[in-house]
């Protein structure tokens, strides 16, 4: 378990004090995949770097599995860092070392014997799917392959925590997917707690159990990924969500339509039920689907549909009520009755 207790991080430059992280408290459960999202400058990077003390918090404590990192001596801290893997946006591999040597470096830091290092590195390269590249230098690898080496290095000493600092931000969409799959597999098979920061909601949707949204150094919203996606409260959160669930209708479509336009949100099991077709059968109303999407977040469906209802006022009203009572939210975008 990771406990972040009232952490504050100030940066002092030329007599001005800039607050990077402003009094953040979070608890991250063992085995959880926890996402921290925010735009650049929101303090998420500072916060994740506090988790292995790459940045020392100005105030507050970082407690991992009962150990307060801020109280550790140099040697104890190095030992603790071996139990906390980290991967980086720009991979940060040693360019003068081969793939094998890059991964071996982490094991060497933990004073492992040569024999142990050799077998462990080969095992790790197998996990990340790079066994054939062990004698290659990083410059000859693609971005995705470099990140795989980064992951192998981070996992070398069997860490309990893996920190991902924008791990997929420098990768193309296909490679991003593959790296996310690998992280998912690591989380599932090794039970490692993963903390990741990103500005891509897609990454959160794909991988995380819980998520915190950061703005100006503070956590403004926190909850399960499903909660955040289905019921975002803060404006910024809604903005982030819209990158995944965006339902902009062309304005001329709304103007030209003859019926009432409604946006329905289905959550969880109701997404699979036939509420809509039931409503259309029950009342003499025609339905015309303008836009729609069902996202599966942690395998739970979240659906959004925009439909046009055409019919007599009373019938449309009744259908609307029927749908409203059975779904989590209905928003009327345009009200027209014949």
């Amino acid at each position: 378990m990771i406990e972040i207790r009232s952490v504050r991080k100030d940066y002092i430059s030329k007599n001005t004090r800039v607050v990077g992280v402003d009094n953040v408290s979070l608890t991250i459960q063992t085995g959880e995949v926890y996402g921290i999202v925010g735009y650049s400058g929101a303090g998420k990077s500072s916060l994740i770097r506090c988790l292995n003390l790459l940045e020392r918090p100005t105030k507050g404590n970082i407690i991992i599995d009962g150990i307060d990192l801020t109280s550790l001596s140099g040697k104890e801290l190095r030992k603790q860092r071996q139990k906390t893997g980290m991967i980086f946006q720009h991979f940060s591999l040693v360019s003068s070392k081969t793939v094998f040597e890059n991964v071996a470096f982490a094991l060497k830091a933990a004073h492992k014997s040569k024999g142990v290092i050799k077998s462990r590195v080969l095992e790790l390269l197998d996990i990340v799917g790079l066994s054939d590249k062990k004698d290659v230098y990083p410059a000859q690898l693609s971005g995705g392959q470099k990140q795989r080496v980064g992951i192998a290095r981070a996992l070398a000493n069997n860490p309990t925590v893996l920190l991902c600092d924008e791990a997929t931000s420098a990768l193309d969409p296909t490679t991003t997917k593959a790296i996310l799959q690998l992280l998912k597999k690591i989380s599932r098979e090794l039970g490692i707690t993963i903390v990741l920061i990103t500005h891509e909601m897609e990454v959160v949707k794909e991988l995380c159990h819980r998520v915190a949204v950061m703005q100006d150094g503070r956590v403004i919203e926190e909850g399960s990924v499903y909660e955040i996606f289905s019921q975002p409260k803060q404006q910024l959160t809604k903005q982030f969500i819209s990158s995944v669930l965006d339902f902009e209708l062309p304005s001329h479509l709304i103007e030209e339509s003859k019926g009432t336009i409604i946006q329905i949100q289905f959550e969880g099991p109701t997404a699979g039920e036939s509420i809509l077709s039931d409503a259309l059968q029950k009342y003499s109303v025609k339905g015309n689907i303008l836009h729609g999407k069902i996202e599966y977040i942690q395998d739970v469906p979240l659906g959004i549909l925009i439909i046009e209802l055409i019919g007599e006022a009373a019938e449309v009203q009744s259908a609307l009520e029927y749908i409203t009572n059975r779904t989590s939210s209905v928003e009327v975008l345009k009200h027209v009755t014949v």
Binding site: N52, V94, S95, S96, F105, A109, P138, R153
Partner: protein, 222 residues
């Protein structure tokens, strides 16, 4: 006397001078590497946000390095005569000249090492800290290998500068090719000797630069 004859005539002198130059430059280079390299690493690692961050040490070392570097070599040569006498028991000859050459090469090379280290991606150093590596491991396994191409280029640069400085050391009895050029070429107006020594120096510098470039290229995996 034909041109050929006069060149043949100075061959023994040239050979001796050449070896003296190699000797002076070799010793100074070894000292620069032995002291300048750690000094450069220290200059780099004591800067802000790095493994041995220490403003006082960083400023003092930087100040000392700048002082030595701001003294013109010819003055350093004279000023260090007492030290030279103390260390080598003499103030003339290539061995004596090596002292002041070394003293000037140390800060020169240290600054080159420092700037080569600065080129390293900070993220790589951070990643090494994040896996729990000791400062010594970071220096040995990350900083020095990553800066190796730059350090080798710096070594080439230092060697070539030392050859130039060794000529100045020659003027106060240090020996070497520069000394030969001055004694025969300048004082005796012997153009043959002058040109021969220049040709030798040009060849030497070209070869060193070529070897240095090649070595730097070979170790560069970026």
């Amino acid at each position: 006397m034909s041109l050929f004859d006069s060149v043949v005539n100075i061959l023994p002198d040239l050979n001796k001078a050449f070896l003296e130059t190699i000797y002076m430059v070799g010793i100074s280079l070894a000292v620069a590497l032995l002291i300048g390299l750690p000094l450069g690493v220290l200059l780099f690692t004591t800067t802000k946000n790095l493994i041995f961050e220490n403003n006082v040490v960083n400023r003092s070392l930087g100040f000392a390095v700048n002082i030595v570097r701001s003294i013109p070599f010819i003055i350093l040569l004279v000023a260090l005569l007492p030290l030279t006498d103390l260390l080598t028991g003499s103030t003339i000859g290539p061995r004596a000249a090596s002292v002041s050459l070394s003293v000037s090469a140390i800060p020169f090379f240290a600054r080159i090492v420092e700037s080569a280290l600065r080129e390293i991606d900070k993220g790589v150093i951070e990643a090494a800290i994040a896996v729990g590596a000791t400062p010594w491991m970071i220096i040995k396994d990350v900083l020095l290998p990553e800066a190796k191409p730059g350090i080798i280029q710096g070594l080439t640069l230092t060697t070539i500068s030392l050859i130039g400085y060794s000529a100045m050391a020659g003027t106060i009895g240090g020996g070497g090719i520069g000394d030969l050029a001055i004694r025969y070429g300048y004082y005796r107006y012997d153009n043959t000797v002058m040109i021969t020594t220049i040709v030798v120096l040009i060849c030497l510098v070209q070869i060193i630069q070529m070897v240095g470039d090649k070595a730097s290229y070979l170790v560069n995996k970026r």
